[in-house]
Symmetry: C2
Subunit: 105 residues, 2 copies
């Protein structure tokens, strides 16, 4: 059976990664913008991003804009690869690579 990535499979992280991979290389997204888009709390988004960062799939960059702290998020090459593999595994599982050959009626 195809191997699912437990870090990515969790519903909120699946949504985060699905959005991050749409960024072009070198692009980042603002934490607050992402939080509103996903309708999450600061704490919830932060916790999921930390898991993605610990897995090497996303990067958080803290900076100051007009003296206010801002966090920008990007996806790593490894994150893109892992996401692609995860989606391929999902497709393999759900589109019937596995078959029940021994059935009873």
């Amino acid at each position: 059976m195809a191997q699912l990535d437990n870090v990515i499979h969790q519903p909120v992280r699946l949504q985060i990664m699905s959005l991050l991979v749409t960024l072009d290389e070198g692009e980042q997204v603002n934490f607050t913008y992402l939080r509103k888009l996903l309708k999450l709390t600061d704490g919830n988004l932060g916790a999921h991003l930390s898991k993605l960062e610990n897995a090497g799939y996303a990067k958080m960059e803290k900076t100051f804009v007009a003296r206010k702290p801002r966090t920008y998020i990007s996806v790593t090459g490894r994150g893109r690869d892992a996401f692609e593999e995860h989606v391929a595994a999902l497709r393999e599982i759900t589109e019937g690579s596995g078959r029940v050959t021994d059935v009873e009626t």
Copy 2:
């Protein structure tokens, strides 16, 4: 955002449902056969099937064959619908229905 079904999203149950929906109407699969196919223990498969049964997605039927207890599993119409909706939601999320429009470089 598309709505994922938490009962189905769990990796083992996603695999179970993916197999069950390949059954034709009126077909059942033997518990032991399914357990071997998924490389699970009796207890693990039983627990996941109970969750699917409680959600109305699968049915377990216990019977005796040559005096030995046998369990057969089938999928309900509601289970097929829920699986189809879940796969559609997965596709919507992972294939970029959501877009990050506010990016920074």
